[in-house]
């Protein structure tokens, strides 16, 4: 049974068609990605995430889902800076550093959509003055935003 209702799927398809520019790859990291969940809660959640991402990818020719097993390919997870799973790297024309840890369900599904559109457009909605300040940042910045689906 799909996560998205027909109505929601139509909304997502329309939004991605209108707003996307560059192709986006969703690299999904979990211990196993075969569709067979590990007999744990974590495995079950990872399988749900994979299904959600798969449904989104099916709604736009510009979105591709690439499942990566962290057991089979730990090097790839390391290269993306991913130490915890389930994790999704949202990659546009380049890797802008966008990651989603956990399940993008409930309100957070909208966050996933925003991240896909931002990665696809290669720029967000920040003001020119903000861009100037960001360009002058001396050090690296690691932003963590903690959320819940409700």
């Amino acid at each position: 049974m799909p996560f998205l209702s027909d109505q929601d799927a139509a909304f997502v398809r329309d939004r991605l068609a209108r707003e996307m520019v560059d192709p986006v790859t969703l690299e999904f990291f979990a211990p196993t990605t075969s569709g067979l969940a590990l007999p744990t809660d974590d495995g079950q959640i990872a399988e749900y995430v994979r299904q959600i991402l798969g449904e989104v990818a099916s709604l736009s020719p510009l979105v591709t889902l690439v499942p990566v097993s962290t057991l089979a390919d730990p090097e790839r997870a390391r290269a993306r800076g991913i130490a915890r799973t389930p994790a999704t790297a949202i990659l546009g024309a380049q890797d802008y550093g966008l990651r989603f840890y956990g399940m993008p369900a409930g309100y957070e599904f909208a966050t996933l959509l925003e991240m896909i559109v931002a990665a696809s457009r290669g720029r967000g909605e920040l003001s020119p003055s903000t861009r100037e300040v960001l360009a002058r940042l001396r050090g690296d910045a690691h932003i963590q935003v903690f959320v819940t689906p409700t």
Binding site: Y101, T130, R136, A141, I143, V145, F146, T148
Partner: protein, 61 residues
Amino acid sequence: MRADIVEASEFPDLAERYGVYAVPKVVINDVVEFVGAQPEEVFVHSLVQAAGEAGSPEPSG
């Protein structure tokens, strides 16, 4: 720059480490944090606090 969205209930160890009792909670470089939706200026100021700005003194801490 990296931006992680973290589903707090699925990563309770991180939620505990960063004292997440309300969401959304934003943590930058483990040193600057704020809760709730904030104006863009507040976000930018927090980034400058955390990462420093060229031409200004080194950030303390």
